[in-house]
């Protein structure tokens, strides 16, 4: 697999080069950073640790048309097929998250919308040199330089980036846009590895997740769920910003004689998430919903797909307005076990 160097002053040209044949997504924004499609990029990435909203938008848009229809007709008009896309500069945790969610979207029935986009998306990750205070990817089989789920990994070596292809798709990308790239030397590779090791050492928070998936069912009626959920506002910010959260709602919309059926992100922390038409709600309070969320990520997903549905990106901890901290919850779980 090829290893290349890209000088930072050639970044803008590099992006334009990639954008000439594919849709490029990078982190944009001053106050709030998100991944958006952009045809050109002035600044090289790496200034911001991570986007507030993860790049799951690329393969699983917040609102997505499933099909359109005309009033009185029974024909479904499918939306256009996805374009080829490249996500430049996502962090390894977000790529691992996509890998984790892939399993669900191809469980028995293929979710054709997701698969179409996923197969046409190339992920170029940027290893983290300075993890954030709430990052704990290393507790969940990740790392600041993990290559899992990535097609190419980039590392910021100061004046230049080191790029390494991980998959054939990544190799092809580097070959196609070779205009700005030079070959990497052994020193560059060494520098990358040293940075990766150093970054791992900078991660301060974590949890020993062993025993949690197996032990959670025993804590179903434990009082800890009431304690950790008492401040929860049910605002849903944690679920929208979580790279592994994938729940969605399906709604029909009409505009005059035209209509569409679309799906949009939903949150299991909302009260109406499991509300039956009869008025019965199996998860009536925030305690049950918080318990369900943690169990879903750390137990149910493990039982079905053998992976913990959490990558330790820390967004939920950073954003929760009332400081509900998943590491705090998990340490209470470990205590109770």
């Amino acid at each position: 697999m090829s290893e290349k160097i890209l000088n930072k002053d050639k970044w803008s040209d590099f992006v334009s080069n990639v954008a000439s044949s594919k849709q490029v997504w990078t982190m944009t924004g001053d106050d709030t950073v998100t991944f958006t499609p952009c045809a050109e990029a002035e600044e090289a990435p790496g200034k911001v640790l991570n986007a507030t909203v993860p790049p799951k938008n690329v393969v699983f848009p917040q609102t997505e048309t499933l099909f359109r229809f005309m009033f009185g007709q029974l024909e479904a008009e499918l939306p256009e097929e996805a374009q080829e896309a490249v996500v430049l500069g996502l962090r390894p945790c977000d790529a691992r998250a996509m890998n984790i969610v892939d399993d669900l979207f191809s469980w028995d029935e293929e979710d054709t919308y997701y698969q179409d986009k996923r197969q046409k998306t190339t992920l170029v990750g940027l290893a983290c040199n300075e993890p954030g205070i709430n990052c704990f990817c290393t507790s969940l089989e990740g790392s600041p330089a993990s290559t899992e789920g990535l097609d190419v990994i980039m590392a910021d070596l100061g004046e230049k980036y080191y790029l390494q292809a991980i998959t054939d798709k990544g190799d092809k990308l580097l070959a196609d846009v070779s205009g700005q790239l030079e070959d990497a030397s052994d020193n560059d590779k060494k520098a990358f590895q040293e940075l990766a090791e150093a970054a791992e050492g900078k991660i301060k928070r974590g949890i020993d997740a062993s025993g949690i998936p197996e032990g959670l069912p025993n804590l179903w009626e434990h009082e800890l769920w009431q304690k950790v959920s008492e401040a929860c506002l049910g605002c849903g910010a944690c679920t929208y910003l979580c790279p592994t959260c994938h729940c969605f709602d399906i709604q029909d919309e009409l505009e005059g004689f035209k209509g569409r059926r679309c799906r949009m992100w939903d949150s299991c922390m909302y009260g109406e998430y499991t509300l039956h038409a009869s008025g019965h709600n199996p998860r009536p309070t925030r305690r049950e919903r918080t318990r369900n969320r943690i169990n879903h990520k750390y137990n149910y997903y493990v039982e079905k797909f053998d992976k913990i549905a959490c990558v330790g990106c820390g967004r939920c901890i950073n954003q929760c307005p009332v400081n509900i901290d998943i590491l705090n919850i998990l340490s209470k779980v470990k205590e109770a076990l």
């Binding site: 499933l66 099909f67 229809f69 009033f71 029974l74 024909e75 479904a76 499918l78 669900l104 979207f105 469980w107 028995d108 029935e109 293929e110 979710d111 054709t112 919308y113 069912p217 179903w220 009626e221 994938h246 729940c247 969605f248 709602d249 399906i250 709604q251 029909d252 009409l254 209509g259 059926r261 799906r263 939903d266 299991c268 998430y273 499991t274 509300l275 039956h276 038409a277 009869s278 199996p282 998860r283 049950e288 369900n292 169990n295 879903h296 137990n299 149910y300 039982e303 079905k304």
Partner: protein, 282 residues
Amino acid sequence: MKNNGNPYIPHAATVEEAWNETYGDRCIRTFKVVFDDEEIRESWEHRPGQCAIIGILGVGESMISISSSPTEGKFLRFSVMRMGKVTKALHQLEPGDKMMVRGPYGNSFPVEEWKGKNILTIGGGIGQAPLRPIVEYVKANKDDYGDLTTIYGSRTSDDLCFRNEFENMMEDDSVSCHLSVDVEEQDWPHFVGFVPTLLMEVNPSPENRIAITCGPPIMIKFVLENLKKLGFEDEQIYTTLENRMKCGIGKCGRCNAGNLYVCKDGPVFNYATLKQVPEAFA
């Protein structure tokens, strides 16, 4: 509409017959539908216990159990209770109207495993709708199974579903059929009392018997207690769960009761499995 492997695209079906089983606010209406597209009509296969998502474009969709057995013919029957936005719209359909159907979803009653066993169904109110396909299936495959007993009750005789089918079954010697209403009623010749009480009256032996129950949660609770009193083991008891559903294919994440996705691991569940999952009884 061909779906080309896209699981979210529904197919058009015409309502051949539609009639109300019950009346009033939360009335139940049964639809007999046939797919418009011949290829889909011929290639459609479902097993007793499975569900389908039916709906109307522009209004929405709802997961409803298929209450017809595949042995009955190339049509589908749905019995829908009028509750919310989608079911209200469905209730307005008359013969000749169209509805959109996609499926079949979920697991089914393990009819292969049950060969040679006696089958007992205990239903209450609308809960008979998911039980009807197994009753019809066993009747159609009499030789593969032991005896068939059905116990069915509702609050009043006006709330009984499939009334005429049950009257026929009472005349049929090959089926042991028992009906009940909760309170005394003029001209009601059968049992008066709650379904769990009728179950004790019928006193079925647990010997080589499978019990399947579906109905309001309070009924299920007492039926389960009584089945245990009669000596049924957990593995002999089956029930169906329901939950709010959207995608029907295990992607949207909302129908799970504990680690069980009702749309994929269910809706048919063995009681022994459910006992491990506290949320199943929420």
